[in-house]
Assembly symmetry: C2
Homo-oligomer: 379 residues x 2
Amino acid sequence: MRNRKKLCLMILAAMGAVPSFAQPRRGGSTEPGANVRSPEVLPDHRVTFRIYAPKAAEVSVSGDWVTQGRGTAGKLEKDDQGVWSVTIGPLVPDFYNYTFTVDGVRTVDPKNGLIKPGNNSTSSMVEVPGDEEAFESTQPVPHGEVRIAWYHSSVLDTMRSIRVYTPPEYDRGSARYPVFYLLHGSGDDDAGWSTVGRAGFILDNLLSAKKIKPMVVVMPNGSMPRGSGTEAQDLFARELLENVMPYVEKHYRVLTDRDHRALAGLSMGGGQTLRVAPAHPELFAYVGVFSSGVRQEMTGDFEKRSAAFFENPEKTNKMMKVFWIGVGEKDQGANPGAKNTAQILKAHGVKYEFHESEGGHTWINWRHYLNDYAQLLFR
Amino acid sequence: MRNRKKLCLMILAAMGAVPSFAQPRRGGSTEPGANVRSPEVLPDHRVTFRIYAPKAAEVSVSGDWVTQGRGTAGKLEKDDQGVWSVTIGPLVPDFYNYTFTVDGVRTVDPKNGLIKPGNNSTSSMVEVPGDEEAFESTQPVPHGEVRIAWYHSSVLDTMRSIRVYTPPEYDRGSARYPVFYLLHGSGDDDAGWSTVGRAGFILDNLLSAKKIKPMVVVMPNGSMPRGSGTEAQDLFARELLENVMPYVEKHYRVLTDRDHRALAGLSMGGGQTLRVAPAHPELFAYVGVFSSGVRQEMTGDFEKRSAAFFENPEKTNKMMKVFWIGVGEKDQGANPGAKNTAQILKAHGVKYEFHESEGGHTWINWRHYLNDYAQLLFR
């Protein structure tokens, strides 16, 4: 029966009558594994993951729910068709990154088009819908644009891209807007915040609820093509100050005084933020450090580089509107540095806000931090 | 030795001294497979693909070079570290989509951040640089923006996204521009043309060489959430006419007469183009059909639906500036339909251009077709 169907399809194909390309592919393919559905989000917030891997000996799935302390990794079990599956959860409604590991090979879900892009950190994503993630989901509210723009970097002598969020009203008038520079972490690029980071959606929802002022958000590429550690951070600082900011101020209707400029970054981007903002208190009135900080042994170096920030705390406190630090309680890598940073600011009498959340070093936390921090800006 | 190094790293980590998150990850990881490099493009245009899969029995790589008739799929060989590799080519300089198959499981390259997104068709991409791909590469010329915008679809009762290319000068004046609606194929979404399709770069390069007029290019999402075959095509036609075009004409500075409106699509999008444009000759003066066409047995149906187009060929020929059909000689699925479409137009005395290229049903051809077709628009 199956062979007869195949033969029939082949004859039709030879007649040019089955151009699958001309219509969306749907349903009944005879290719093994073609009809596997993954992920499947169940009404009770559990998620079933499936992958066709008839020759594999071991398949597991892990994702942000594990790092965030909301669940455990899962071992998949194989059925007699070679399809592996496992059901995880229920999970708190959110967007979760995940990957399969098939016999030791990290694999995105071949059936899932929702991809977290990244430099060496590609994974699949699943949305578990619900009240807890309404702040970051695609709502029927006015939406701003996320624009991909290219500029020539004089620092790196190459073309570089940035993503720029403009608020819904941007093209309907001639107003100038405050500008918020938002930096990603290691392994990501300028696409991170507007894709897995859901930045545009978070801002659209906040704007619609009148919880923030309209602003332009600039998401540059913080991964440097050369240099490591502090060398790369200094290179990025130059890129930001000498190329990104001048390009933005020339091409977008943004305000150019410090009271209308914010900077924040996550992880590596938090390190970049701490390298740039306190060394240049004349540039940014708002500073956000997400899941990052100054390591204990770098305290002296940080204080030295931030002399302009610490020499007159009273003046600094008048100039700085917000210095916000957020970190997860389970973020063993970043938590001590974040606390040390707060300690340094305290010792110098500089005002700050310290926010310790649940969970670890995850996009789940970073989306929440953006949601919290954005509401403090440009008041 | 290896264990001692690991222990040392663990102690440092416990001291908070190795927060890899705070700096870009580079070089010497002890994780097996961590330092595998893939793809590696060699100076002679050969490409080495590598993947760490110590437990796999069989690994192969295939990509657009195969479908385009420029090379063969490769079987990888395993070294004693569990790293599989093969060198392919030399390849004609171009962007190539590819995937590994690891023991029957389709796998993107875990070491490659350049991803072709897609609904069920995710793959990795590699750029082989050279003269032949200069038209589609990221050149140091003025770049337009690709904007991601969201609108509420009354036809589908959901939020939908479109990508809109605006030329470099767009935000510096108040001019209105001709508008080109560009449709993707099955398995892709509104991201297709601006990512794997390189649309923005192709237009930037053409503009810089003064080979085209500045224009706005609108790339909607042609994949429908319901319906199959012609039902889905009619649903998309409504989406385009009732939602996408009114949204674009309200939110972007585009000209709204037929002489300044073009439509083109590839594969499924070519089918959508043939469903919309000849039925509405009052809307589009420029029509492009890439790797698609009317199947023989659908000829009568097409003629009936396109009555407005065929009833007065002399009038149609005055109205239509360009009707362009392109298809690959090896594209067994689409080639007969494309030729049949040309035959129908010829039989009715309607002018058209037919361009048969080398190769098959590939993004390689579609990027070239866009490059050719765009130069004919709005003259």
